[in-house]
């Protein structure tokens, strides 16, 4: 920034102004989050006042037009599909980061990293469309109906894989060189160095990346909506269709009125609660790492 003459002569005034601007911006961000939660509460009030809260978990099914508001199958579907995707993307992402750092020749790893970064830029609807027209028919010819929890997990994995891989790669790059040299000086094998030195040192960063990816997986809407079948039910196998909370909102919001609409805002409220819980776990974890 180029300072005008006046402000160079009194840097403290410029500082004060900058501090004011920054705190205003920070306050705005906090206020937006608060307003979102208040808005969700306000919009879901008509149904929260009339329907007992526990019924959102205990109702047998989701038929808002007939007065049934069971969210439990969708909550479960959201959690299971995200967990499955995290498991796959976590394994693949960390493995690819390790390959990049420790096994690949530098030119190959540079290209590989660019490729992964490109993957991160692909919009989710493209993954969804690909899943719907390619992946679902393949699985349908094997285990109908094809659109299922499994396809949801696979498409989510593709979407969050770059996040995990790139952050794990950055965390491994941040491991101090001196640790690795020390390991080499002790005559440790490459696998010993990776398992005993690099991974423990990069653990915090890798887990932070996975938690970030978890937030994206929980909130993903369009791709999951296109490939998971959207039937409200508890899945008994990987091949059963499921509906996530986000897909529920996207599917029905455009045409919902009255109590149905309010019940959809309750879906949003539950989802927001879930994400806040995740953020708290992440913060807690960061704290432990700091002190430990």
């Amino acid at each position: 920034m180029i300072w005008s003459k006046r402000s160079t002569s009194s840097p403290s005034r410029a500082d004060a102004r900058l501090a004011g601007l920054c705190s205003a911006a920070a306050g705005l961000v906090a206020a937006i989050l608060l307003l979102i939660v208040l808005f969700l509460l306000h919009e879901s009030r008509p149904v929260l006042q009339r329907v007992e809260w526990l019924r959102f978990l205990t109702d047998a099914s989701w038929h808002p037009a007939e007065g049934l508001f069971g969210l439990a199958p969708m909550l479960w579907a959201t959690l299971v599909s995200s967990a499955g995707a995290l498991l796959l993307a976590g394994t693949l992402g960390v493995a690819s980061a390790l390959f990049c750092r420790f096994y690949a020749p530098p030119s190959a790893s540079r290209w590989f990293r660019r490729l992964v970064a490109l993957l991160a830029g692909i919009p989710s609807v493209v993954f969804g469309f690909w899943g719907l027209t390619v992946l679902v028919p393949i699985i349908a010819s094997w285990r109908p109906p094809g659109a299922s929890l499994l396809t949801g997990i696979l498409v989510l994995t593709l979407m969050i894989l770059p996040t995990v891989a790139l952050i794990a790669d950055a965390a491994l790059a941040a491991v101090p060189e001196i640790y690795l040299r020390g390991a080499a000086a002790l005559g440790m094998s490459r696998s010993g160095t990776i398992l005993g030195v690099a991974l423990p040192a990069a653990k915090g960063g890798i887990i932070a990346g996975i938690l970030l990816a978890a937030g994206r997986a929980l909130g993903e809407t369009m791709a999951v909506l296109m490939v998971s079948g959207n039937v409200v039910q508890m899945p008994h196998s990987l091949f059963d269709p499921v509906r996530t909370l986000t897909a529920n909102i996207a599917l029905e919001m455009a045409y919902a009125t009255g109590e149905h609409r309010a019940a959809l805002f309750v879906s949003g409220l539950v989802l927001t609660g879930l994400v806040i819980l995740l953020a708290m776990v992440a913060a807690r974890f960061g704290e432990v790492r700091h002190h430990g």
Binding site: S4, S7, R17, L21, S61, H63, P64, A65, E66, L68, L132, T133, V136, P137, A140, S141, P144, P145, G146, A147, L225, M226, G229, N230, V231, V232, P241, R243, A250, L251, E252, A254, Y255, A256, T257, H260
Partner: protein
């Protein structure tokens, strides 16, 4: 200083907002339409075009179901009611004007040898009593039932026609948009679904591997929806309390004219015969 520039911009935006607000206040004529959520998006689009052609007129559209359209038109709360069905006997005191027709057709994969399904068979498939294509003359394959998400007008019409409740239906896939339904059926040889006939006919002509099944012997085509012979269809009506006058008359004539046919087709409805 950047701050100064920011303040100037903010002031500019504020002034612009005030200006637009004062323009809105200057509007003298207002037309209120309420009713069917199926018809509301189309009415909104027609309203926008009507506003552009008639400066100083504002068209206000609110959805809330066909019954609200009837009630509001009767009580005078709305100038025009939106009703996405034919008027019942006890509603014949109102004047109705059909602007378009809405028809849905059953679709299966092109390779499916089944040529026709009776209403009974469709009900049995959708309620889970028939789960294999063999039972209706097809291959020995499990049926993938594709249903629409709650609140969609196509679902409403489907349930109404077959006298079903949504909770009776045992579906394997639930979809939102018509396009998603077509992609799902095109990608699954054993799927059955229902979508707006306009969309399905267009996609099938573009080589997408889907097949529209006839209903009660009538081919599922836009033409048959238009001439009223296709059973799974309904009229979309504008209703008024008395013979419409002035602005309401002009709006109704405009909605039924050829100049809005593109808007009707964009909502996957079928315009009236030209």
């Amino acid at each position: 200083m950047r701050l100064k520039a920011l303040t100037t911009t903010l002031c500019g935006i504020l002034i612009l907002m005030l200006l637009t607000a004062s323009v809105a206040l200057a509007v003298e004529q207002k037309l209120v339409l309420t009713g069917s959520s199926t018809l509301a998006p189309l009415a909104t689009e027609i309203g926008k075009r009507f506003e552009r052609q008639n400066p100083g007129v504002r068209v206000d559209v609110q959805s809330g179901g066909s019954s609200r359209g009837i009630t509001d038109a009767r009580s005078g709360l709305a100038d025009i009611g939106l009703v996405s069905r034919a008027l019942k006997e006890e509603e014949k005191d109102l004047k109705s004007f059909t602007v378009a027709r809405d028809g849905i057709g059953m679709i299966v994969h092109k390779s499916n040898p089944v040529r026709e399904l009776s209403d009974r068979q469709i009900i049995d498939i959708y309620t889970g009593k028939i789960t294999n294509w063999r039972a209706v003359g097809g291959p020995d394959q499990p049926i993938t039932v594709v249903n629409k998400a709650e609140g969609r007008s196509t679902l409403e019409l489907f349930l109404h026609h077959f006298r079903l409740k949504n909770s009776d239906i045992k579906a394997q896939v639930v979809i939102g948009e018509n396009q998603q339904g077509i992609k799902t059926v095109a990608g699954n040889r054993n799927a059955i679904g229902y979508v707006s006939i306009g969309t399905a006919e267009y996609e099938a002509s573009q080589g997408v591997p889907i097949k529209l099944l006839p209903m009660a012997g009538v081919a599922a085509s836009v033409e048959n929806v238009r001439n009223g012979s296709f059973p799974l269809a309904r009229p979309l009506n504008l209703v008024t309390k008395a013979e419409p006058q002035g602005l309401a008359r002009r709006f109704i004539d405009f909605s039924r004219s050829e100049s809005v046919h593109d808007l009707v087709e964009a909502q996957y409805f079928v315009p009236l015969a030209r």
